[in-house]
Symmetry: C2
Subunit: 600 residues, 2 copies
């Protein structure tokens, strides 16, 4: 099956470089949690992921796109290959790889689990979404649930028997969670009954698992308005019997499927809670249990959302990389035209990679996709430090940086790896626009990533409205200090110009935030938050590229030359864009702010 070679999913060489030559993942192995692991085990996990991704996930990626799940007689029907692939995934232990031994896991570093996930995401983003959501829900419940909840729900999720979802949005409240209306009525036995409608729920229904564990935001009757009255509940699709196996249906009903432009293999659902379909009369109401404290649900849910945001960024990066590798392969083998200096029709046509403009499009994809992948693996590495660094200060430092980087790690790959996929189409030309090649699907699939788990607009508000001001600016200062250290480390070598440019851009990262907030008016300060987010993302990716450039050291060979050239490309073609964006933020440009509804 030539089209499902691992070499067109991700670059194993690049992944090794990021994990071992830059992020020094082997150094983690000296920590107690990872004492049983060695490099060969990590490599084995990643190689297994690559092989299963190529053999079981990639082959049905197009078929799932062409035959999206349907809603028949109240149930979801989908192609059988999805369940078959997830069986292999489950049997190989990928649901629990990073979990504690006590929960049946292997205690892999998170960064290795994430890298393994990237193989599956590159092969089939839609099928991978089911375990992705399940792990997010399991980790959330593990962090905030009771021992009984963990035993009842988390263990079967980590065995891949139960799948999970996150139920936040409602038809009248997408990004504005303070306006959700789903209500939870307390019962005498300590449980709750939930009533309401949840929208855009990925993986909200299917027959892939024994049951589905919904993590649901709702308001306990009498709770305060707004975000301060939101609680988190666990609501299974089926109630469990005495043995913990799924039994009668809970009152959660699939009301419809959304039909999307891409990501079609993942069911995206409208769910009704408590309409009485499965529990009529006075038994109506979806049975659920409070997770954590009442009215503290949003804070708990952010645990899952932050993990999901980095995961979204990683999936966008994986799609960017696979699109790039497909375009590269095409460009090397497709003859078309000749260089401007050798136009004689007597000569054979050259492969299109001979054209500088094609190399530009490939280099841009490489810079976007490998940069995004590296940043998201860096963030995954921070989650390992947060959990396992010996020093409590180092753990807090990792948390601070992760908070700071999350909106960027989510939004930047979603924006620029979508652009990478567009360039992959462009390299293939008319062929790229057809469904005979996979790049158009990557582009359609990737277009969701700037929307779900918080749009660019939401991430911009998070970065400029919360993260740069949190702890009186400590997160921003920490990030800036790290970036400056990298810039200084480059001062005397081949990348000294890049170091200087990064230092300048980094200074503006702080200055622009300060000037945006100078007047203290949040509406004005945040009016250009998206511009700030985009600029900050470019600074952070430039930093990532300079880090990778420095990690090449004095090593020789094509691979390292390519890394160095991609770093140069990003600094020459991309980083200079930040000045324009910082200009707009710093002077509080009011073009959009002053625009009136009636003027449109």
């Amino acid at each position: 099956m030539a089209s499902f070679e691992t070499s067109r999913l991700l670059s194993k060489r690049d992944l090794d470089f990021v994990l071992y030559e830059w992020l020094n993942v082997e150094s983690l192995l000296s920590r107690p949690r990872f004492a049983d692991l060695d490099r060969a085990t990590l490599d084995g996990v990643l190689d297994t992921a690559a092989r299963i991704a190529a053999d079981h996930f990639a082959p049905h990626n197009r078929k799932a796109d062409m035959s999206e799940p349907t809603f028949e007689d109240g149930r979801v029907k989908m192609i059988p290959e999805v369940a078959a692939a997830l069986d292999v995934f489950r049997d190989a232990g990928f649901f629990s790889g990073a979990q504690d031994y006590a929960l049946g896991g292997l205690q892999l570093p998170n960064v290795v689990e994430r890298a393994a996930f990237a193989w599956f995401q590159a092969a089939n983003i839609a099928t991978t979404a089911y375990p992705f959501l399940t792990l997010g829900a399991a980790n959330l419940l593990k962090a905030h649930g009771t021992t009984a909840q963990i035993d009842a729900f988390v263990r079967p999720m980590l065995e891949g028997r139960f799948f999970g979802t996150m139920c936040l949005s409602e038809p009248q409240a997408g990004s504005s969670l303070g306006d959700i209306r789903t209500r939870a009525a307390p019962q005498d036995d300590g449980s709750y009954r939930l009533y309401g409608t949840k929208m855009w729920i990925s993986g909200g229904d299917h027959d892939l698992s024994e049951t589905i564990v919904h993590m649901v935001l709702a308001r306990v009757d009498g709770a305060p308005e707004g975000v301060r009255g939101i609680s988190l509940f666990v609501v299974p699709k089926h109630l469990l019997d005495d043995k913990g196996d799924p039994d009668a249906r809970n009152d959660v009903v699939l009301a419809g499927l959304n039909h999307k432009m891409g990501y079609r293999g993942t069911t995206n659902t409208l769910l009704n809670f408590g309409e009485g379909a499965y529990r009529p009369g006075d038994r109506a109401g979806a049975v659920g249990w409070l997770v954590g404290e009442a009215n503290q649900g949003l804070a708990a849910m952010f645990h899952m959302m932050n993990e999901a945001r980095i995961g979204v960024g990683l999936s966008a990066a994986a799609l960017g990389v696979t699109g790039y590798l497909h375009a590269l392969d095409y460009a090397r083998h497709r003859p078309q035209g000749r260089p401007a200096s050798a136009k004689s029709p007597e000569t054979p046509q050259a492969p299109i990679i001979a054209h500088a403009d094609v190399r530009r499009m490939l280099l841009a994809q490489k810079a976007y996709a490998e940069g995004a992948l590296a940043l998201n693996l860096y963030c995954a590495r921070l989650t390992d430090d947060e959990a396992t660094a010996a020093d409590p200060e180092a753990r807090a430092d990792a948390r601070l940086l992760l908070d700071m980087l999350t909106p960027i790690a989510k939004s930047w790959p979603s924006q620029w790896c979508l652009e990478a996929n567009s360039l992959a189409i462009q390299v293939l030309g008319g062929s790229g626009y057809t469904r005979d090649y996979p790049v158009e699907q990557f582009y359609r699939d990737n277009r969701l990533n700037p929307i779900h788990e918080g749009t660019h607009g939401v991430q911009g508000l998070d970065l400029l409205g919360r993260k740069v001001v949190m702890q009186e600016g400590a997160g921003l200062r920490r990030l800036q200090r790290l970036i400056d250290m990298t810039a200084q480390a480059a001062a005397d070598g081949e990348f000294h110009l890049l170091g200087r440019a990064l230092g300048r851009a980094n200074a503006r990262l702080g200055q622009a935030a300060a000037l945006a907030w100078k007047a203290g008016d949040p509406d004005r300060a945040l009016a250009n938050a998206s511009a700030y987010l985009e600029a900050a993302g470019h600074v952070v990716i430039a930093w990532t590229w300079l880090e990778m450039g420095l990690a090449c050291g004095d090593k020789v060979g094509d691979f390292y030359e390519g890394k160095r050239q991609a770093a140069r490309y990003f600094f020459r073609w991309e980083l200079p864009k930040v000045d324009l964006l910082f200009d707009l933020v710093e002077r509080g440009d009011d073009a959009a702010f002053a625009m009136r509804d009636a003027w449109f």
Copy 2:
């Protein structure tokens, strides 16, 4: 049918502004060719186009996307609404509106015909492609064909009885036309027999018309290699009987359909010429007739390609405008969240247009889409000057400008109105990603425009490699002089800062071209041609916006305030990007040029 209101296709108010308040189309009516027309007639034509577009083209836009044409028993099957819509289009006279009285036309100005087409393109780009290609083929044959060819083919095309295509690409030669292999064998009766395979032929087969007239590039046996050996032929799907009606099938066979990401309602075909299917044995060969001189085919075909390129730009703009209008409507009616300064959950949610970032996305769409539409109508206006200006110098001047602007008018809307459609999706959020709303289709449809009729790469080579150097730079100088006149006209008014910025950018437009060519090495000069194209496009659109800003004069009212604000937006958020691009071109940045295949 609320979803097919004309107000969500194009803005009639904006179209009137461009045609009458900026381009002064009424002044054309004093020319002899247009003596029978008046403003009311032009308005009637445009209103009729808007009504037919909304009533007959828009309603099946989604259905045609969901039910793309199929290839069954050697024939194309498609939904019946396409033929029904084209019947109405034909009966209303839109095939011949701009043609000579002698050919059954109304002698409308081209700019009005193009504006009418924009209504159809906004409503249904795929169905509109059939008459679009037919008119292109008819105009080509009219310009280069014999009287007999015009009578036989052009007249029925302008009656909408025969449709047309352009057959350039072949499987082994997409953008590289010098490598086409289709051969034409001369016959004793003066006709030719053609043998070969043509790829990516839009409208290449269907049952929408009595027959199809293919305009085909091929090599007469013994012709020189490369572009100097290409001739143009007219090859009908059916041979014509003595009365000129389609009779026996010619030897042109539909070999397959391409399955695309968007633009699905337009058949896109692989055609085999001369394989003997319909004319077996020694009758094999597609019967065709030479158009114009042998070996001069490419120059003739450029007549059609240039027209098609401006048409592609216009269609991209029309999709940009309709996406913008849909997003605007959604933003005004969708409540979600509250401004940062008024977060109390007690207050009702605000329509999302209240958020500055949503207004930014709408303003960007307005700036891209209305700017692109205006530029393409300006180009259409130039075609009227080229054909009907009293003064021969004015005609030549219009030709020169049109040559200069064509690569920009094709590529800029294709790039930025695709971005506008992406922003339209973003405004709608999760809804925008579903097929319940049309914006995702606009985005998919529009993604073809950067590819067909010459990719961005091809347009960049055309602009920097041919147009800026043609006639020793006369075209570039002429364009720069016009832009400077606009900049100077703004010097003393409210837009003086915009005028200064445009003047500076315009200076770099010339300087960058000169520096790129300074060393005289075409490979190096053209290595960054795409960057030059993108920068030149931004300069030209900034010029267009300043022209529109000045055309507002001292008029008051919401519409004019919106135009002024969009002009300001483009100058603050977009025009500054050109400096980075010109920097790269001027210093001959070699990031992509020096990148080696093995380094990827």
